[in-house]
Amino acid sequence: MTAQTQVAAKPAIELCGIDKRFGAVHANKNIDLKVAKGTIHGIVGENGAGKSTLMSIIYGFYEADSGEILIDNKVTKIADSKTAIASGIGMVHQHFMLIQNFTALENVILGAESGVMLNVSLDKARKELTRLASEYGLDVPLDVPVEQLSVGMQQRIEILKALYRGAKVLILDEPTGVLTPQEAEHLFKVLEALKKQGSTVIIITHKLQEIMAITDNVSIMRRGEMVGHVKTAETNREQLAEMMVGRKVLLNVNKTAAKPTDTLLKVNHLSWQDDAGVQRLEDVAFSVRAGEIVGIAGVSGNGQSELLELLSGIKDIQQGSVEVAGTQLDQDSQMTPEQLRAIGVAHIPEDRHKMGLVNSFAADEAFILGYHRADQYNGKLLMDQAAIRKDCAEKMQKWDVRPQDPKLKAANFSGGNQQKLVIAREMEQKPDVLLVGQPTRGVDIGAIESIHNRIIEMRDAGKAVLLVSVELEEIMSLADRILVMFDGKIVGEVPASKANEQILGLMMANIVPDEVKALQQEAEA
């Protein structure tokens, strides 16, 4: 590491030779890092590069196999989170560390109680939180179980947790992945305020424009190694992307104009309530034609998941109807996911771990999930394992899934390769309608490029594609038309050519800008 000289100010945290293995995975290789006091320090790197691991080591969640951590120039042994907290480090994890059925107040005091009796701690925290809220604009409802709050609110609670414990160094692991652009902006204001007060912030993000916007310095990780440190002012997105992946990356998707034909998917007045009686979808209506990609934007949790699950037959239709590939579905004539697959509806689920794969299955078993009853994979009584393996091996080669071993456990593939496996499975069945949820979530830039190209290919082959994504950039670059969902309703539609982050961001917060209203009136007329 030669670029260490760039850090001029006194370091708040310094890492020397941090090394960490998880079994065979060498997650962090001899990492050095200096984070200057009072700065915002970005860390970027492709998926699985070891960023979260490194931060978790600073926070004492994992213990490094070797290496040293210096806090304020003093070697500090951080054996557990308790020591880290005592050393003034706070962390907002990629997956929130909240007790879902506790209130914000309870979550904040957990581990930082001021005595044996709870009410004493709660009263004290209530006062302190009220102060912090006004100081940083971090208002949250204090007495509602956090499971009832939006992710944005939950994140504020996480930040409050750290501040309540007196954090001087705040680590944020992919904080904006789940936020609306407006919420993200608010977050950045909070971070700026913290910086002004002399706190240090370390932020991990995949969104290079955010790095450019708020950080002072950036460190780049690749495959467990620290490959560079740069001053933000002296770099650009292309250079960062190249350092992350190790080769040049096209950040923009090339595609021709859509040539839509027949309507293959039509959704009429679809409404749906969950078991708890919450209205998850309300009067949703739209259609997708062959040869076009319709994107659905929105903060996650606004009904997109339910919509996909209804369209793919996982959930039962309660109200309204769906016409898909010439078949009418409603309350009285439902289809199972299996039947829908048979009529040409494929579904790439939002969460590959939760739905797309069975982690303990071998790759070839995972590769037939949902198609396991198909004739091509079955003999008279038993499954045709040779055929399954052969097909999987072929498709792995075609889609460049690495390692190309159909018998490797699904869990042992990296995220990007798991996603490729799922996408290969669904696209290779030649569907007419393709439902796609978060196709590149947690997937690194290299893989994103190829996945995007495949989706465009599907469109150009005359398929109807419905794309749900929380990544505005992804939606804008792939979709031909964009619908925005908020609270189970479609807020409005914008042609991709007219869309920008500003407009979509407002609509994601349920505000329809005048220009969109005008567009809609135009379309109706």
Binding site: S81, I85, M97, F102, I109, G111, V116, K161
Partner: protein
């Protein structure tokens, strides 16, 4: 009046029958709220019943029985912790192992020590000058008020005249509620059963919390066992727990992992048992109800209620899963 008397007697019996269930259900509550399934309640009850009776006999003191019984039960709980918390073993398997171990050890050691086929000697034995059984507590004026209508029945019959442990079980319910929901310890314990990773990142030791929860669980289950042998029967008999640990688990789930709910479920089982004990030869029309049906009633009712009325109880989220930080 006759009718009232019958009701009082049934309720009186209900308290006696429900006491070990209440202790055991609360024991399970602490363990499961911390995320550790405890199917080994049965074994802990059995082991502490044995150890309690043996110690009470040897030291000729019910209190020594109580102490030793509880200690043995706590040790088994620690063994459960060692297997499931430290070594991340399967919690159900560990519980089963403890149940089977307790069954075998109590009988073998009992036979080896006392040569009575696994029984301990009787704790009340004028010949050997042994009187190591708990005595019942009679409230002041219970005798005098006995014949006063209503009040006499309730005060002298229903409330007075139970073993100390019966009152302790009833007191343990609000106490457990207080500990779980009003103290720092309780907050952390509930948190660890919901999301141990979050607790870990909050600087609290997951392992430590779970061990503490298990210790409390062991102590409470120990009281259930001691109640059976040192108070009720004044002797240990092999297998005397007779499924109470499992019933307590059912009560816990019924009660949706809450102290009051568990109490009510235990009382319900108790009342069913008390009625069953008293309704042999009961008739429906001219057909005698088979005793076996009456016996099976608590179990049938459990199934019916579980399936029909209480819906899905929401378990602590992290229950049953060992806390693993680093995947291997």
């Amino acid at each position: 009046m006759e009718y009232f008397q019958t009701v009082i007697l049934i309720l009186d019996a209900t308290l006696r029958v429900a006491t070990p269930l209440i202790f055991a259900a609360l024991a399970g509550l602490f363990s499961e709220r911390s995320g550790v399934v405890d199917i080994g309640l049965e074994g802990k009850i059995l082991a502490s019943a044995f150890a309690g009776a043996a110690a009470a006999y040897v030291f000729n003191s019910p209190w020594m029985g109580l102490i030793v019984g509880v200690l043995v039960s706590v040790s088994l709980a620690m063994l459960h912790g060692f297997a499931t918390v430290t070594h991340r073993g399967d919690q159900v398997v560990s519980g089963m192992a403890i149940n089977i171990l307790a069954m075998g050890l109590t009988a073998s050691l009992g036979n080896f020590w006392f040569h009575q086929g696994g029984n301990t000697p009787n704790l009340v034995n004028a010949l050997e000058n042994i009187d190591a059984r708990f005595t019942t507590i009679v409230f002041p004026f219970a005798e005098q008020l006995k014949d006063v209508p209503i009040i006499g029945g309730i005060y002298s019959e229903l409330l007075s005249g139970h073993f100390l442990l019966v009152y302790l079980a009833l007191a343990a319910v609000p106490l457990s509620w207080f500990v779980l929901f009003k103290t720092r310890f309780g907050l952390r314990l509930r948190a660890v059963g919901e999301n141990p990773t979050a607790v870990d990142t909050a600087g609290i030791s997951v392992v430590g919390m779970r061990y503490m929860a298990l210790a409390i669980c062991g102590a409470l289950a120990g009281l259930a066992g001691v109640y059976l042998s040192v108070a009720v029967t004044a002797q240990f008999l092999p297998n005397m727990s007779a499924g109470k640990g499992y019933m307590a688990l059912a009560a816990l789930i019924f009660g949706k992992w809450r102290p009051r709910g568990a109490l009510l479920a235990c009382l319900m089982f108790g009342i069913l048992q008390a009625i069953a004990d008293r309704s042999q030869g009961a008739m429906i029309g001219s057909v005698e109800i088979p005793v076996q049906l009456i016996e099976a009633l608590p179990y049938i009712l459990t199934v019916v209620l579980l399936g029909g009325f209480i819906g899905t109880a929401i378990a602590p989220k992290a229950i049953g899963r060992p806390y693993v930080k680093e995947r291997e």
